[in-house]
Symmetry: D2
Subunit: 396 residues, 4 copies
């Protein structure tokens, strides 16, 4: 456990030293007024990152999965019908969670590597004239396939169908790294975690709820206590928690929001895009294909890279960790063994990224793939050299 090399998993990400220090706090009495000085800026910081004026933010000592469960159990009732597309492991898991909680999920199976089918959503919603569908699930960024979906299009589908269903979005691997517009897109629930774009350790489920979703909270009949928004809401009013909060992580979140907002969200997104483009240039130079089928769905936080037929992509992960001490992401579900993933979100530079690409090249060469050493690195270098970083451009 020498922790010398950066990680290239799609979260938890590399952490800035300043954020590690913000999390590593001595004990603070969470019932003292000092706690409010951490909680309130964290909540309002997240709202700004969600680009929302209207939402209320709730933060649980949990993970993204707990965020999904929060949204579902607080606003829906057993037997409720919901609509969801499955185009990767994480959309699959959210559907599974809903089913385990007794919801009736209309599943739109969608090829892994493509985005959410807004048109199919629209057809189904338009056909649901009795408005039995209570909520629509949308995974903004499929971490398993490196596919970004168009949430605005999903909103248009709802609007076109004049359907009142709530729109729930998994932004776990997009929020704080890629553009997310909660109010503009009419998102009713946004879910994320601390360990991705916020560059913190895992341990926080972060949920934003629109006024409409909040209204649904009082109707939801699914049992819950730990994740109960009602308790949380009551406690927040007095700067408290219904149980012991993860004070250090919340302090980290407050500082992370400050850091991101002072960089400027557009700069943050442009930075992620730039890093991602370099990775994609390398993939192209290697002669490999992304799992994501078309440029419009390329994710700026993670790339899933298809390996040649007959090759076990998981060997790349094992070999990279064992020989070079570098962590890449494994293929999951349908694409297990067929892709390996390079996470490129959070605290990452051109320079760090190049070391990941160089490692991937050595690994693939070691495993017998016909990869020219230095080829992907050169393609990325070329891009990074000439494509000026946004913040320098801004400064100029």
């Amino acid at each position: 456990m020498s922790f010398q090399n950066p990680v290239f998993i799609p979260g938890p990400t590399n952490m800035p030293d300043a954020l590690r220090k913000a999390c590593d706090m001595p004990t603070l009495d969470h019932r003292s007024p000092l706690f409010g000085e951490i909680l309130q800026p964290a909540l309002s910081g997240v709202k700004k990152i969600l680009k929302s004026e209207l939402a209320e933010v709730f933060i649980f000592p949990s993970t993204g999965t707990g965020g999904w469960e929060t949204v579902i159990t607080n606003t829906l009732s057993p037997g409720d019908k919901i609509l969801a597309a499955r185009n990767g492991m994480f959309s699959h898991r959210w559907i599974d969670l809903c089913q385990r909680h007794g919801l009736d999920v209309v599943i739109v199976d969608t090829p892994w590597g493509t985005g959410l089918p807004a048109d199919r959503y629209e057809e189904i919603l338009a056909a649901d004239t009795h408005h039995e569908i209570k909520a629509v699930l949308a995974t903004h960024n499929e971490t398993a396939t490196g596919v970004k979906s168009d949430i605005a299009a999903v909103r248009r589908a709802l609007n076109n169908a004049k359907h009142p269903a709530l729109l729930y979005v998994d932004g776990v691997s997009s929020i704080a790294s890629m553009d997310f517009r909660m109010d503009e897109w009419g998102v009713d629930a946004a879910v994320t975690g601390s360990q991705k774009g916020f560059m913190l350790p895992a341990g926080l489920a972060i949920v934003g709820l629109s006024p409409k979703a909040q209204a649904a909270v009082d109707q939801g009949k699914l049992p819950r206590t730990f994740f109960d928004i009602r308790d949380m809401r009551k406690s927040y009013a007095v700067n408290a928690y219904p149980y012991t909060p993860a004070v250090g992580l919340l302090n980290g979140l407050k500082h992370s929001c400050d850091m991101l907002l002072s960089e400027g969200l557009d700069n943050v997104f442009a930075r992620h895009h730039r890093i991602a483009e370099g990775v994609r240039a390398a993939v192209h130079a290697w002669g490999l294909q992304l799992c994501a089928g078309s440029r419009d769905v390329y994710s700026d936080t993670v790339s899933a890279i298809r390996t040649p037929e007959g090759f076990n992509a998981t060997d790349i992960i094992t070999h990279a960790a064992g020989k070079y001490g570098v962590a890449f992401g494994v293929g999951l579900g349908e694409v297990a063994g067929k892709v390996f993933r390079i996470g490129h979100l959070g605290s990452l530079t051109d320079v760090m990224t190049l070391s990941g690409l160089a490692t991937a090249e050595m690994v693939m060469a070691d495993l017998g793939l016909s990869i020219k050493l230095g080829s992907g690195v050169a393609a990325a270098q070329d891009y990074y050299r000439t494509e000026e970083a946004v913040s320098s451009k801004e400064a100029a």
Copy 2:
């Protein structure tokens, strides 16, 4: 937020520097083999602290409340009858959680300040000839009142009644500070968190399940995903988690267990008892009473101290924080305004404790209580001076 003084809340506790450093880890790929080197020692360390050979331990990125919910939702079904005494705020909250999850709770209301009524349990269980009661809840240490209960007696009640109900124990503020014997007492589920005896930040729900409770997991019909033991069990088998684990906290837990076990559990318990006796000597010297009604229920981790009639005990907490920068615990529920609490668990020394007692004296004098400055301190000093610390005794 100058963090100079120790805290005297009943958790989160003061943290040893070494444990803060163990938690403050760079990012480690939780899907790499390195993660198993953290997870397995953490799990087996907790088992030893539970004094269990039989239990399996499950750790969630959550808190004690999540631990309660884990136990209930995994092993019980809607409408199940359970038995629980209510003798403080935390037993009350666990009951409330059960009711929200649709359980039928037979509540034995018990005066706050007394222990769990094992005899009443026995009567009720004996009368339940159809064994409709599926589980018995017992709060080992009522953090709100500073009352320790006799779990062995509750087990005897079950045995005497020849009742097969599961025995679920909240050990949040006892485990790792006071003696807890999971196997010997026939505890089926033990619940605790990271931020008390383990001296870590909040953020882990720690649950031990007996084989009998584990068997019940597959019968439990309450919906759950985040807290699902089945997913956790499957993942542990491959040193993994069903979602992103809180790696740093788990590493902290591993080191905390090492630290506690190398001190020796009996020494840990004796240390807590000794610190607590000093606090109680001070309370006596002040002419005040504990909320805990008799010596046999005195808690070694927290003392709730009754203030005189007509005095608002909560003022003590506010004034101590505002003027002296010291955190004590507020009275909760039935004893709100009537008691203030001194937490004396976790990383604490005689010397630190004396500073808390000295502060309490200044605060009470400031607020007009007739307290002789130095009186409680002197009583505690006298005790600490003459009552040799266990570890020195051991060493001799």
Copy 3:
């Protein structure tokens, strides 16, 4: 090494968490422009704390002893005559250093426990009509005896004698804790370290030189390289060091200055005075005497406390460390075995101080001194309770 209790040595002091974090920096290239963003604020911060507009500040990876050597070797030449009083271990050591470097020291032996004899200085200087004395040494705060001297009076002695000698002041245990006025007092060299009032780890020698002392640098014929002001001056002009600087400590110093200046120097001094008065109230209540002979020389950063005839004061230090894990300061030199010292500078609160006093009481009682437990604590509590802290007063 459990580090739970505060230390009560007269430096290194207890450290604020924020300053530990400021020191614990990843590697930064000390030849990059980023280094200037640390160095310059550190230098200008120290100047403000010295209350100097005129001085230039030099910081070496060293300690206070290195600071003494810097001043002496840079501005004096072998055989130079200097004047110094010896009233404690640290004035003694500085004299010794001068002698080892071939200076001719006119020593005014002064009883330990009294301040510097400005009148004797004046007599000697007035008699030195040929101005053979090149420099006068003055220890502002004798850490060994807890005696503060009147530097303004020493300056008056020089002025009255119309003597051009340089005035060199050891402010190691005063600067940043007690009022120090470099320009107003006409101090030509001020020496301190990082581990006292600046609340940092040991490792920096901090030296301020007046223009007159700087002019002397080019005349000084004592050999030196590591401590050569000329190299340092040249390097500072380009934000660099003549060798590898202690970047983390410098960053800590920058933050320490910010912290002290934003509290306000007068508040810092008042805080130290208030803490010290509480300690002195306790000493009085114990029926013991300070080594410092009169109220006007009481130090606000350290109290040396005389123990009864026939008692070995060093036993207090050994016993406190061994049984209670608390560090007090040992008696040094002439007062070895006759005094023990309580350091009360740096990051300390009323509450922390009370724990030190309570410990001292237990220790003295353990060792058979007739000390009433709680007596000193009560006296200090009474003072702290009623003597409002300056910053609260300010705020009102």
Copy 4:
């Protein structure tokens, strides 16, 4: 100051997280017995790394320059004649230090890029039939030129000349990274610092003295106090320091020695050699030359790389820092503007190194040098891929 990328300066090096944590210690009383538990293992650890049974080690809160001064001022006297070659900036500076302390240095000017001329040393020593030369200086690794010298050869020169002069070696950038054999080579004084092979922050001067050098200490007539070995020796005997030690850094040094020795010194050296060979393969692929003139003098800790005539090598450093946030080493002295340096010592992996090489390529391309992107990276990748790491080889 985002600290995301590794540094590639020849010290301070990248630091392992575990060593940063070892340095970041709460305040410990350096006069308590606990201090000995840090000091003694640090001293004995360094001895093992020096491969010495005979030497005594002395550690000052200072830097390598202070180490040079320690050796010179403790063992020599004004006017003493010494012999030294000048083949780079650091040998130059040591000579300068000696001259400033009044020594008579016989300088052997040697082309920068070549090693120490043992044959010239032998001639001069043989000619010095009156043994006026008291000491011979040798820079083991010229950090400015990336040139390693053969200390065993220098020892043979002394032996062949049957000359009794002391042999003083600057091992600042070699010790703990490259093989150093104090006893076998008959080194009388070895000097290093904390911020190179030990992977710690700057702030410690580390000096090993042979029995013969220690005997010379009592004869040395140069004035010194801070660096006086006699005080240090006396203090060490009681586990103390003559002034306040840098406790945290010493604790870091203790842990660093543990870390290096448990890896195995031969493995440490092989690891450095391997990393260096990769860098050299890249330099070759770029069509550039090392400053070091021949393979036998290649340094395994730093490579100084000549840039084409007419190109200002310093631009590389400025541009790399400004555009890519990466620190390389500037050319110094005679080779200023003619070389840039890549430090490759301390905590570094293949993967980190590749990111430095990739950065250098981008920088050189940006600045108009005809460098094929990816070419050096590919050469290094090829080497790292196929040249198995020593520790894995060992494990096999």
